[in-house]
Amino acid sequence: MNRIKQAFEKKKAFIAFITCGDPDMETTEKVVLAAAENGADIIELGIPFSDPTAEGPVIMEADGRALEAGTTTDDVFRLTKRLREKLDIPLLYMTYANVIFSYGTERFAERAGEAGIDGVILPDVPFEEKEEFEPAFSACGIDLISMIAPTSENRILKISSEAKGFLYLVSSLGVTGTRTNITTDIGAMTALVRKSSSVPCAVGFGISTPEQAEKMAGLADGVIVGSAIVKIIAACGRESAEPVGQYVRQMADAVHR
């Protein structure tokens, strides 16, 4: 059974996003291991991009710090290999189309597969453009994760019927970042997905508190948290592993409750 499927098998999944190379690769490695030890079921590794148009200021600034530190795609592959030796949970990449296209899509997919990656999330590749990337990834055993947004409406059935791994439900309009209120009817979205697909649904964008996480876990199969973790790393720098671990513990407990 593939790792993503397994992660959703018996419980709700807590998915933690971490930008690679912020503030450096050694810290990223420690933070990822701390998140995994403290209950993260899946890790999303952000490969930094100079102009991340789907991100709010928190992750945008993290990408800036990582690139400033000299992080490259090849560094991320090396980090992934080291992590894969220690971790058996699914590891995903979240990045932008140009990072992959400019590396060479097939070459990127092969390297990612060798490093032990299970899935890739590309916020600037919608259903209409996925054919350019999906065959290369699936040839290397990697799922290209599809996204559904509050504006997807009539597109939900089409997208979910071809979804691989899990579906990324975007909770709100706008970019990534913490929000006090999530007004989208997530329950209605997941119900619609269930009509055409058996893939699990994980909700992301705007979730930062255990209360929100517990509520979202009640409506979907998993919860994705990014900006709230990246904020801790922005504040604590190289000393982030412990505070991120503590935060992930609270959030994962809330999701698994």
Binding site: A97, F127, K130, E131, I148
Partner: protein
């Protein structure tokens, strides 16, 4: 790529977040309808003629022609349009389209401020709200245009992320659009971004080449030998080229901003120095590093200071139908001064890139040849920065 729409050869497409997909599909449908609606076209022509001052003149630059001693030079005077640039063609079209779609708010990015001013103008005329995103660096370079936009009733949002220039203004406008779609139309300023923008903007700007063709046939009884236009995103260039695409004998030459030179890092000449990539919703050419990180580009011209180019230009470049040359800051500034002195016309620093290239090629062409240069805008906005470039400081700077 069977599902992908809006391709020019390999280029174009819709590389945007899922959140925006229904918005661009709705726009594509609306445009598909109104572009074939005679009432819409009549209303737009009416605005072009009675409000924007179209058709713009095709002016025979006799002194410049005599001085350069080669091909006859005509200037397509988009600088004479209301608001002083070609940008108004697109903004009137998109604002009208947005209003027909029931949108009440326009958002726009701007570099030099010309598209921002044109968007604010169209919004004021049509009673719509307008918010313009502009890089902080550009706000400082083009303070007068910031003032104009506010005077016209628009809100101007300075963008300080990234390089704080046009690229970041586009990113921020896209982020804004994902957060507010219902009442908002993104009035994109160039032939770039996701489908259908490259087609919509091209169609609204194609009036330039349509008029050139008619006017030159009247004045000379034939087609030009070459059409020159500056290229950032490429809207005035595609507008100048479009109705000549089928006329193989007409050379189409886009003039990119080389900045301090195409062998330096301080350049914005995308086709001359970049390679294919995916960014800002489209597959096209971009200035980028080996890992696909978008390069911080540079040009003296805020309007050409963009690391990408519209996908149709990428296609015309690879197919060989159009040529793309690079013009340095120094050459453009010299052309800015030359045209002012020679013809009494102060061109925008963007357009000066095309003038500079004409100055290189015209002397080597026979006197019976004809060059048309599109003067995409007027240069009032650039006087302070050109003076500074020449080491002079004006009182208001």
């Amino acid at each position: 790529m069977t599902n992908s729409r809006g391709r020019f050869g390999n280029y174009g497409g819709q590389y945007i977040p899922e959140t925006l997909m229904n918005a661009v599909i709705e726009l594509e449908k609306a445009y598909g309808h109104f572009s074939h609606d005679p009432a819409f076209q009549a209303e737009l022509s009416g605005l072009f003629n009675s409000y924007a001052g179209r058709p713009s003149l095709l002016y025979f630059a006799e002194k410049m022609t005599r001085d350069l001693g080669g091909a006859k030079i005509y200037l397509k005077r988009e600088d004479l349009n209301h608001t002083g640039a070609h940008k108004i063609n697109n903004c009137l079209g998109q604002a009208l389209l947005a209003r027909k779609m029931g949108k009440t708010r326009l958002i726009a990015e701007t570099g030099a401020g010309q598209h921002g001013v044109a968007s604010a103008t169209a919004a004021a005329l049509m009673g719509m709200k307008c918010v313009v995103f502009m890089g902080k660096v550009d706000c400082e370079r083009q303070a007068l245009n910031v003032y104009k936009m506010k005077l016209l009733g628009a809100d101007v949002v300075p963008v300080s992320s990234g390089t704080a220039t046009l690229k970041d203004a586009v990113s921020e406008a896209m982020r804004e659009w994902t957060s507010r779609i219902d009442d908002t139309h993104y009035c994109l300023g160039s032939v770039m971004g996701p489908h259908p923008f490259p087609t919509i903007v091209r169609d609204f700007q194609a009036v330039i080449s349509k008029e050139i063709k008619t006017q030159l046939l009247e004045q000379e009884g034939r087609l030009p030998d070459a059409v020159l236009a500056c290229v950032g995103g490429g809207s005035n260039a595609i507008g100048s080229f479009y109705h000549f695409l089928q006329d193989a004998e007409v050379r189409l030459i886009g003039c990119e901003a080389a900045g301090r030179g195409i062998h330096t890092f301080e350049t914005a000449a995308t086709l001359n120095t970049g390679r294919p990539g995916i960014f800002h919703g489209m597959k096209s050419y971009f200035c980028q590093d080996e890992y696909g990180q978008i390069a911080p580009v540079y040009s003296i011209s805020a309007g050409l200071d963009y690391p990408g180019i519209g996908p149709e230009h990428a296609y015309l470049y690879e197919s060989g139908r159009a040529e793309y040359t690079a013009v340095t800051d120094e050459e453009a500034v010299s052309a800015f001064e030359y045209l002012s002195r020679t013809e009494g016309i102060i061109p925008a620093i963007e357009s000066s890139h095309a003038v500079a290239h004409a100055m290189k090629i015209a002397p080597n062409m026979d006197r019976d040849k004809i060059i048309v240069i599109t003067l995409s805008g007027r240069g009032d906005k650039d006087c302070v920065s050109i003076a500074r470039y020449r080491g002079q400081s004006l009182p208001e700077s």
